[in-house]
């Protein structure tokens, strides 16, 4: 399980002076808060987006984000990822820049109202998301165990209560843990790591502490993750998309219970 690759990470939490008010009065003390910083992603010297994040695993964040947006489809096309955490920038160089991805970049899907419209709101998502074909199954017991594993790993959360924890897992084990102030960022890091290491996602579970919204679901669908699990709730559009994209969506997974919104056939036993 890769929790902290061998490179210097940005300090995840910093101590700040605070005044805490209680019934009995107030006291001055220091408190740990999670680090937050803007990081700008460049692709072939073109500024793409600025993300607010905790500042860790920026190479994975950049690669995962660009892969999800269709700019990086093959690892062989990736030439260089230069991270300058102190300057808040990541410069990615890649071959074979896609004009189609460029044309579709951040284009909001517009439909005419003549016929059942799209579930997607970004054109690129409608192209890259497709129903997930996967034979993976897991038992209720495995699901509970993986959630307990995730909870044990969340040191920054315990210190700050300021991050979302996300893990890539098989039914038997947690493979990768990432946390960030943005649940999207944590998923992008997992996608980026998997892309960089050639990990197939068709038989994996994505476990997160964040809400299961359409954005998270689409990120998973675009890379073919068949099972999404959260201790939090799901949104209506996420459920609709999950049904449409053959993804098992599980929420309120805590205290030994969980709620299956879609794809219950992957839960066996």
């Amino acid at each position: 399980m890769d929790q902290s690759p061998d490179r210097p990470a940005t300090q995840k939490a910093v101590s700040v002076p605070v005044r805490v008010y209680e019934r009995e009065g107030c006291l001055e003390r220091s408190q740990l808060v999670v680090n937050e910083q803007p990081v700008t992603l460049y692709l072939n010297q073109r500024e793409m987006v600025t993300l607010l994040c905790a500042g860790n695993h920026l190479d994975e964040l950049a690669v995962g984000f660009l892969h999800g947006e269709g700019f990086l489809q093959n690892l062989a096309d990736l030439e260089e990822v230069l991270v300058d955490a102190s300057a808040g920038k990541v410069e990615v160089t890649a071959r074979g820049s896609s004009s189609l991805a460029e044309n579709l970049w951040q284009k909001r899907t517009i439909t005419s109202g003549c016929g059942k419209g799209s579930l997607f709101y970004y054109a690129i998502d409608s192209l890259l998301s497709r129903p997930v074909e996967s034979s993976v199954t897991l038992s209720s017991q495995q699901l509970r165990e993986r959630l307990e594993d995730l909870n044990r790993m969340s040191e920054t959360y315990r210190q700050t209560h300021g991050v979302h924890n996300t893990a890539l897992a098989t039914p038997e084990d947690i493979m990768l843990f990432r946390d960030d102030i943005g649940r999207h960022n944590a998923v992008d890091m997992i996608v980026g790591y998997s892309f960089l290491h050639g990990i197939s996602l068709e038989d994996k579970l994505l476990i997160t502490t964040g809400r299961l919204t359409s954005e998270i679901l689409i990120k998973a669908a675009k890379v073919g993750i068949p099972v999404l699990i959260s201790r939090n709730t799901a949104t209506s559009l996420a459920v609709e998309l999950a049904n449409s994209l053959n993804i098992t969506l599980i929420g309120f997974a805590r205290a030994g219970k969980f709620t299956v919104y879609s794809g219950a056939e992957r839960i066996v036993g």
């Binding site: 189609l100 517009i110 016929g115 419209g117 799209s118 997607f120 409608s126 192209l127």
Partner: protein, 380 residues
């Protein structure tokens, strides 16, 4: 370079002569037809009457006075349905009709008009025997779309017209998709009424529709008002075309429509049809070899309109991806014809509809096919 493949909605581009005719009327004529005796008004009248004759000639109508200009084919259809049918009447329509027919009929059915829908096959073709049988019961009107606006299925109009004529049942032909590209012989077929748009294969500007009503049929007008004739009377004239042409007509549109018909005459409708059918054939063949693509082929093709779906990609998404990714214009969804989509089995998502026009080239069709291949492969 953009590629326009939505000619079933409206043709684009128009012949140069159409733009010129509209500009000429707007700049040089400027009068209101039939409303005065000055030169500009007379010239405007002459333009309208010349256009009327051209339409009559094109559609095989002996008496051009029975041709009226409306706003569009939908208005022409509404006029007939609401001006002819009475509570208690029974009307028979096909299972491939457009909302221009179905929606007014749904309203009229609330007023006591009985509507019977004769099914079509999944290829969009009318089941002729079922249709004929449906006329055994008393029927005041039959309505048929000449060619489907969804998949281009051409109906056996000559047979249908004969069946209706033998029973003395007026037939309203919706020729919105075929006017200008398929031969129409209103007198020979003894059509009761005919509705057509001016801006599709007739190549005119939008805003002009055509209505033909047979001499022996008394269809009430949809609206009343000034006609420039019998102005001393409080009541609407009862003669054609004035009874259906209240208010200032769309002179620009009518002039453009006349120029469009001239272009068709010059180019030859047969060669235009051959060109468009060859484009449709290339489209169908190119699409059918692609994985996950289903083409909704008609039994008999009458226009260039091709409809298809792609497994795993919503038609609305695919249409927008074509627009944003390749600058290709197609129409997606239900094409205002949900009944037709129920017949074809494509309701409620609908289809991607590709409709080349007279100016579309084979190279553009190939570019379109390449774009579809790229999109369905998800290769960016």
């Amino acid at each position: 370079m953009s590629i326009y493949l939505d000619n079933a909605a409206t043709s684009y581009p128009k012949p140069l002569s159409v733009y010129q005719a509209v500009e000429h009327v707007l700049k040089e004529v400027g009068g209101s037809p039939g409303r005065a005796s000055h030169r500009q008004a007379r010239e405007a009248s002459a333009i309208v009457e010349a256009a009327r004759k051209k339409v009559a000639l094109l559609f095989g109508i002996g008496n051009a006075e029975r041709v009226s200009f409306t706003k569009n084919a939908t208005e022409s259809i509404n006029l007939v349905l609401k001006g002819w049918l009475e509570p208690g009447d029974r009307v028979v329509v096909s299972g491939i009709e457009h909302n221009a027919v179905i929606r007014p009929l749904r309203r009229l059915s609330g007023d006591g008009v009985q509507v019977e829908i004769v099914p079509c096959g999944t290829d969009g073709q009318l089941e002729l025997e079922t249709f004929e049988k449906s006329l055994d019961k008393p029927c005041r009107l039959a309505v048929l779309t000449h060619a489907s606006n969804v998949n281009g299925a051409l109906q056996p109009i000559a047979e249908v017209a004969r069946i209706c004529s033998d029973r003395d049942i007026p037939l309203l032909l919706d020729a919105a998709q075929t006017g200008g590209i398929q031969t129409i012989m209103a007198d020979q077929w003894n059509l009761g009424m005919l509705a057509c748009s001016g801006h599709k294969s007739l190549l005119g500007p939008s805003g002009v529709g055509i209505l033909y009503v047979r001499e022996d049929l008394s269809v009430k007008p949809l609206i009343e008002g000034g006609t420039g004739s019998r102005s001393e009377e409080d009541f609407q004239p009862d003669f054609c075309p004035d009874c259906y042409e209240s208010g200032t007509p769309n002179l620009l549109g009518i002039a453009g429509l006349a120029a469009g018909i001239d272009f068709i005459d010059e180019k030859g409708m047969t060669s235009m049809l051959q060109h468009e059918l060859s484009l449709a054939s290339r489209l169908e063949r190119g699409l059918m070899v692609l994985p996950g693509i289903k083409v909704y082929q008609p039994g008999v093709r009458g226009t260039s309109t091709v409809s298809f779906t792609s497994e795993g990609l919503n038609p609305a998404d695919l249409g927008y991806l074509l627009d944003q990714g390749f600058d290709i214009a197609v129409r997606t969804g239900l094409h205002c014809a949900p009944l037709a989509h129920r017949t074809l089995g494509t309701f409620p998502e609908g289809t991607v509809r590709v409709s080349p026009g007279v100016f579309t080239t084979l190279e553009e069709i190939d570019q379109f096919l390449h774009a579809i291949e790229t999109l369905i492969s998800r290769r960016l």
